[in-house]
Amino acid sequence: MEKKASRVAYGETLLELGKENPDIVVLDADLSGSTKTSLFAKEFPDRFFDMGIAEQNMITTAAGLATVGKIPFASSFAIFATGRAWEMLRQAVCLGNKNVKIVATHAGLTVGEDGATHQALEDIAVTRVLPNLTVIVPADYYETKSAIRFAAAYQGPVYIRLSRSATPVVFDENYEFTHKKAGILRKGKDVSIFACGVMVAEALQAAVRLEKDGINAEIINVSTLKPLDTETILKSVEKTGCAVTVEEHNIIGGLGSAVAETLSENHPAPLHRMGVIEKFGRSGKADDLLKAYHLTAEDVAKETMSFLKP
């Protein structure tokens, strides 16, 4: 399976957008080589602001730029963009309802060797709770390209969660991200598996394994975490009768919580949440970490099986 990093899609798309729209400006906090905003910086040095290692200042400055008509994209690692600068995101960007795009890379365990300090496993929880903010977790390189284009055209604050590692490609260049819409990638009748980000590819592979064991899984890519496409979620579970959620995030506050909230209020059904449970991350190769935290396709297939047939 072809592998590509979503952060590369971000850098490439930002460069294209820079050529198309002179109002787009970019801020980074000394990580432009890693977040790939360096591609934009090289071509448009006057519209690129390296804010140094000062994420709180980066997010609030972005709100100021948006106030005078710019479309700022602000980038850092997910833990710093949403954690270090959370209150600035809340007050200046979301309460102020500013047209700021926060695109954070290096989310989740697949950061790898840098370890727990740099692996955001809480960012969906702390962004999903903020009014006015759209929260997007693209599944792969191509969905990232389309989601970045959507964010640039959309009026209002957006948070986009990206990864460091090259991960399997799910879509192709013709794919178009649809706001507020969860995508059914594989139809099934026995169980609804909801996934986001790099877990979408794992869930799709899990479905192939489950098929061999006679389980027909429906795979849904929930790339917009907020606002949530509750209609697609409910329709699927009304058909299959049960749900599994898979995310590279703490099971509290993220996709698992969002699906649980939706189901328990509208259509109570058995649910199994997969993700990181009461733990921080740790150092290691991305693939080894997914194994250690039981988030591989094999784990998804195995846990779905025992959930269905205890």
Partner: protein, 273 residues
């Protein structure tokens, strides 16, 4: 600045001081001390210096003002009402349910307010962002930000100072309302942030110190700030917290407390036209 203009500004500021006391008294909530210390600077900026139209507020014809010490809303709202952003009657509904006049400035509620402030430290970097954006667009209008000295204890203030110095935002002029008091007492006792001017100098700013209640000094400082083309400017305004109301002057207890009935009466007598 001629004497007639100073007289006009003084009379306006005196009117705003009455409105500040009235608002906080009526709401029985709000921040009189820091509103009274900064009102002379605000009066000068809104009614002598800035282009601040109610309509057509595009970046090429409008200066911007960010109240980073957002709790001084009574001072800000008195100026905005006088400008005509909303009826003066709205001032009596300050901080009440269904009023547009929120406790701290919110751009989604209050006409004439461009950014949301009140969480200390956050207005200043937004002003820096506005200055960067306006310069990039070729606007020659100015950006002003008002900081408190207690507010300068926030780390974010110095991140913003560093970045404005680095990016040489000469279209930005900051006033620090150095009244020396904060909620818990003297700034130098609670957490000594001094020397504030040296900290800005070290961050590559043009620094001036003035009496923040003297309109001629305010005017001279702004004229000098606008002549600087390679640095942002800060004006350290030495002020008196509670200025104009005898029992509020230099009294930290009136940072965030309203006057009672008797105090209100005395204050209004002292501030009579």
């Amino acid at each position: 600045m001629n004497q007639e203009e100073v007289k006009r500004l003084k009379a306006l500021a005196r009117k705003f001081r009455r409105e500040i006391v009235e608002m906080v008294y009526t709401a029985q909530s709000g921040h009189p001390g820091g509103s009274l210390s900064i009102i002379d600077v605000l009066t000068y900026l809104f009614f002598h210096e800035m282009e601040y139209p109610v309509q057509n507020r595009d970046i090429f014809s409008t200066d911007r003002l960010v109240m980073s010490k957002g709790h001084a809303t009574p001072a800000l709202y008195a100026c905005l009402a006088e400008k005509g952003f909303f009826p003066e009657a709205e001032l009596s509904r300050f901080r009440q349910i269904d009023s547009i006049l929120q406790g701290h400035p919110e751009n989604e509620f209050v006409p004439g307010v461009d950014v949301t402030t009140g969480s200390l430290g956050q207005g200043f970097p937004q002003a820096v962002g506005m200055a960067l954006g306006m310069r990039l667009s070729g606007s020659e209008r100015k950006v002003y930000a008002i900081l408190g000295d207690g507010e300068c204890q926030e780390g974010l203030i110095w991140e913003a100072a560093m970045s404005a110095g680095h990016y040489k935002t000469a279209n930005l002029t900051v006033f620090v309302d150095l009244n020396g008091l904060q909620i818990d007492g003297n700034v130098k006792d609670v957490m000594n942030v001094n020397p504030v001017p040296d900290k800005f100098s070290a961050s590559h700013w043009h620094v001036q110190e003035i009496n923040g209640h003297d309109f001629n000094e305010i005017n001279n400082a702004v004229r000098a700030a606008h002549k600087v083309t390679d640095k942002p400017s800060v004006v350290i305004a030495h002020t008196i917290k509670g200025k104009g109301v005898s029992f509020m002057e230099n009294n930290y207890k009136f940072h965030g407390s309203p006057p009672n009935d008797e105090q209100y009466k005395i204050a209004m007598e002292e501030l009579a036209p």
